[in-house]
Symmetry: C2
Subunit: 197 residues, 2 copies
């Protein structure tokens, strides 16, 4: 999917081609490449056509936590940095090889001054990011690591093919060994359920 | 300030009166009144003209935490519930007597279909909510309760006149006695600084 198809699907089905008031550039990044680094001021918005990216954060002890993943057909960037022009607190890294479309932040902000469709898109995407954050906070308050693991893999069934145990553990906020235990338990539980039905 | 003045100040200074494509109703709520309750589906958006409201959340042990405050001249509602039509996880309560303007969610969503200014406003407010959440998460990760207390009172100097020690402690996620200690320490520090300069 590209940005125009995404708009037709999610915002306005009657949206015509070449109506966007900014340029869209094609990009490719290799697995492991840094797309926006710590302390960089974000100047682009990306639409992920293929691949997975992850958002890292470092705590005071220099331990890395993964706070978010983005999958195919979604917009991403270091959004707080984009909105405030402050240095990024997070690092965005390609988890797999990725194909992207890129929009310049400057052109986006210009378009916000007059374009209905671009404001609808910006509002919709910000609502999605807000809800994702609310959901994650709630999960951390109310669910066990096992429940959060099952949520993650059921929402994105391919994820275990692309992410290392280590990456998933960093996202769930647990030790890789605890995750191995959780995975074994989940598999046993699924096998048991299959036998019963 | 009313909604129209807020739009002229923050979104478009050339915005004219009576241009908004929805009705605005005036409302008043008394201190302690529940504006949106747990499990209610949010159907309104409010603009706070006078007063303070707080957003409560209950954890599994039925302990109440205050996760947010809203002050004069800001929009608020149970936003995740408004966006998803799911029962509200939070409860919104008037911390003081309040004067409000109210918009119906249904009329707002209709306006999103065609109005540039309403989409600009919705995007701007969602960005603000998103950034507020990012800031609060970062503060919890990187600051002590004392630093968070000083941030809170320096951003909203009147807050201590309106909020009980208990409410501030519930917001900072600490015991009221710890807050009293922090307040004594902060006052001593301020007195010392004044003597030195």
């Amino acid at each position: 999917m590209n940005i125009e198809e995404y708009i037709r699907k999610n915002i306005d089905y009657s949206f015509q081609e070449n109506e966007l008031p900014f340029k869209i550039r094609q990009g490719k990044v290799k697995k492991g490449e840094v797309i926006c680094d710590y302390n960089q001021i974000e100047s682009k918005v990306y639409f992920l056509q293929k691949g997975i990216v992850q958002v890292n954060i470092e705590n005071a002890n220099k331990d890395i936590r993964i706070v978010d993943f983005f999958f195919e057909n979604s917009f991403f960037c270091s959004y707080a940095s984009l909105l405030t022009s402050a240095p990024s607190d997070v690092q965005i890294v390609a988890t797999t090889d990725c194909e992207l479309e890129e929009i310049s932040a400057h052109e986006l902000f210009q378009a916000y001054k007059h374009s209905l469709i671009v404001n609808q898109l910006g509002r919709y995407e910000t609502e999605k990011l807000y809800l994702k954050r609310v959901k994650r906070e709630k999960e951390f308050l109310t669910q066990t690591a096992e429940e959060r693991y099952i949520n993650l893999i059921s929402a994105n069934s391919e994820i275990t093919n692309h992410l290392s145990i280590d990456a998933i553990a960093k996202y769930l906020g647990i030790h890789p060994e605890s995750l191995s235990r959780i995975r074994r338990k989940s598999i046993q539980r699924i096998k048991k359920t299959n036998k019963l039905t």
